[in-house]
């Protein structure tokens, strides 16, 4: 309300101004994270910082590899998944953060 002014050291809180604010909206939500080296994570976001270090809960990691057949040169895409209950992710490996992909 207009009767209690914000104390000077408090920033505006609820507006979405910069990209990191979009990540703030995803706290306690499931997200999709694309990482370097063809890795992907899906999990619940519990914490993040400006480096995009993150803590994810209930995580599924997918690692995708391509095998090339020596004779036919066919590309065989394989993915390996594993589940991790609670995971710290270092930000320098993160490429993209998004809401979980919906199957159309």
């Amino acid at each position: 309300s207009e009767d209690d002014p914000l104390p000077p050291q408090q920033p505006s809180t609820n507006t979405v101004e910069e990209p990191l604010d979009l990540i703030r909206l995803s706290l306690d939500e499931r997200i999709y994270v694309k990482m370097k080296n063809d890795r992907e994570l899906r999990g619940r976001l519990h914490a993040y910082d400006q480096h995009l270090n993150m803590i994810l809960g209930d995580v599924e990691e997918t690692v995708t590899t391509v095998e090339i057949d020596e004779e036919t040169y066919e590309e065989l895409y394989k993915s390996t998944k594993r589940n991790i209950p609670m995971l710290f992710v270092r930000g320098d490996g993160v490429v993209l953060v998004a809401p979980p992909l919906r199957v159309g």
């Binding site: 920033p11 519990h46 914490a47 710290f88 992710v89 270092r90």
Partner: protein
């Protein structure tokens, strides 16, 4: 009495978080795909990690560090740290992350 918040506190959510996990068992996965299980001994502002009583998890196709008990891991080579889920207060983390995001915007 008014409590004034110190505005010049360095943002270090994850440093504080890891300090709270000292003494717990974790698995550190490095960018070279080596996974090391051990007890978290200490951490610093760069998230460098010291582990004690280590063992190499996953099939031991990587250097057997049988004689190595303790190690120092440079923070920048860490890909993941697997944490014990029941030692993590997710509500507290989320609140702290919101606060840190606010501080960062200033």
């Amino acid at each position: 009495m008014l409590m004034l918040m110190c505005v010049c506190v360095r943002l270090q959510l994850f440093y504080s978080f890891f300090k709270s996990l000292v003494g717990k068992d974790v698995v550190v996965e490095l960018k070279n795909d080596l996974s090391i299980c051990g007890t978290l001994h200490s951490v610093d502002q760069y998230l460098n990690i010291k582990l004690t009583d280590i063992s190499v998890t996953d099939p031991e196709k990587y250097p057997h560090m049988l004689s190595v008990k303790n190690c120092f891991i440079r923070g920048s080579v860490v890909r993941y740290v697997q944490l014990p889920a029941d030692e993590v207060d997710t509500q507290l983390l989320q609140d702290a992350a919101r606060k840190e995001a606010m501080q960062q915007k200033q």
